[in-house]
């Protein structure tokens, strides 16, 4: 199994190609949408590339869940993710770092969970299994 550093390097190369960004822009905490300018269609492109690059299958919605809460008031109230919603996030995205998000669980901040590091951890988990 490749080391975390090797996975990170491959993930970086994948993002550089898919998003046409410079190597300097890639860092572990860089968010795909905010920092790297990814649009919705890019997420699909990234999934395809990661599958080819690592020889894995990424089921639809596993790495980038499309609609976790579906407007369910148990999960979201007044634009904030509830404790139950956070628990759901932890289950659906165990590879995401939720520490910062938990401090201010504003629904609009969800996209910041999608970082270079998150993808690296996801791949690591995939290859480990």
């Amino acid at each position: 199994m490749p080391s975390q550093e090797e996975i990170y390097q491959k993930v970086s190369a994948t993002l550089i190609e898919a998003l046409n960004v410079d190597e300097e822009e890639i860092k572990p905490t860089a968010t795909l949408q905010g920092d790297l300018g990814a649009e919705s269609i890019d997420f699909l492109d990234i999934v395809f590339r990661l599958e080819r690059e690592f020889g894995i299958k990424i089921p639809r919605g596993e790495l980038f869940p499309e609609s976790i809460f579906q407007g369910d008031p148990e999960f979201v109230q007044n634009g904030k993710v509830t404790d139950k919603g956070l628990a759901e996030l932890r289950t659906r995205m165990p590879f995401a770092d939720l520490k910062k998000f938990e401090q201010n669980p504003d629904l609009t901040g969800i996209s910041d969970l999608f970082t270079v590091e998150m993808i690296t951890k996801y791949i690591q988990g995939k290859l480990g299994n």
Binding site: E17, A18, I41, D42, L44, D45, F48, E51, R52, R60
Partner: protein, 179 residues
């Protein structure tokens, strides 16, 4: 002007690859304006030719049930424009095909009109591109556009008929039996 930028398929391997040709005549409408006295086909239209070849390849793989839309040109590189009298050969391979969409790698080669197209194309191409197609989400697209598949309709239908014919005729080694 009809928005068809391939003339016919030479090869069609379902779900894998397709090869189409486009013969460029000086009578093409585009040459009147691009440019007067200097007739060249712009790279953007060669991209369209690759996208039509690839789009039909991707559409046929799911029996034209999906609305295949060009979502992203991931990368493209062209050495030069194409000239009237040349035959363009579009070679497209599917890289990934999934429920949500597909990505293809395409290459364009140019030959002087009338030359036989070799099975093995030279390594040096006129241009190449990676193209990404999305299958417009069934549920959402039905709300927006209804059941009618607006992608594979009208002018493209005739081309699709030819593509299917080529697919049926293409033998296991990829060559049409009548070629």
């Amino acid at each position: 002007m009809r928005w068809l930028w391939i003339d016919r398929f030479l090869e069609f391997k379902r779900g894998q690859s397709a090869r189409a040709v486009k013969n460029l005549s000086l009578a093409e409408d585009l040459f009147a304006d691009h440019f007067p006295g200097y007739p060249v086909m712009p790279a953007a239209l060669m991209l369209e030719g690759l996208a039509q070849t690839g789009g039909i390849l991707v559409g046929e793989a799911r029996d034209f049930r999906e609305k295949v839309v060009l979502a992203k040109i991931v990368s493209a590189r062209f050495e030069r424009e194409a000239l009237a009298g040349e035959t363009l050969v579009y070679d497209v391979n599917i890289l990934t095909l999934r429920d949500e969409g597909a990505s293809v790698q395409g290459r364009v080669h140019a030959f002087p009109g009338g030359t036989a197209i070799p099975q093995e194309l030279p390594a040096q191409s006129l241009g190449e591109a990676e193209i990404f197609f999305a299958h417009l989400d069934q549920a959402r697209s039905q709300q927006l556009f209804g059941d009618h598949n607006f992608v594979f309709s009208g002018e493209l239908k005739h081309m699709l008929g030819l593509a299917k014919l080529t697919a049926e005729q293409t033998t296991s080694d990829g060559r049409p039996p009548l070629a």
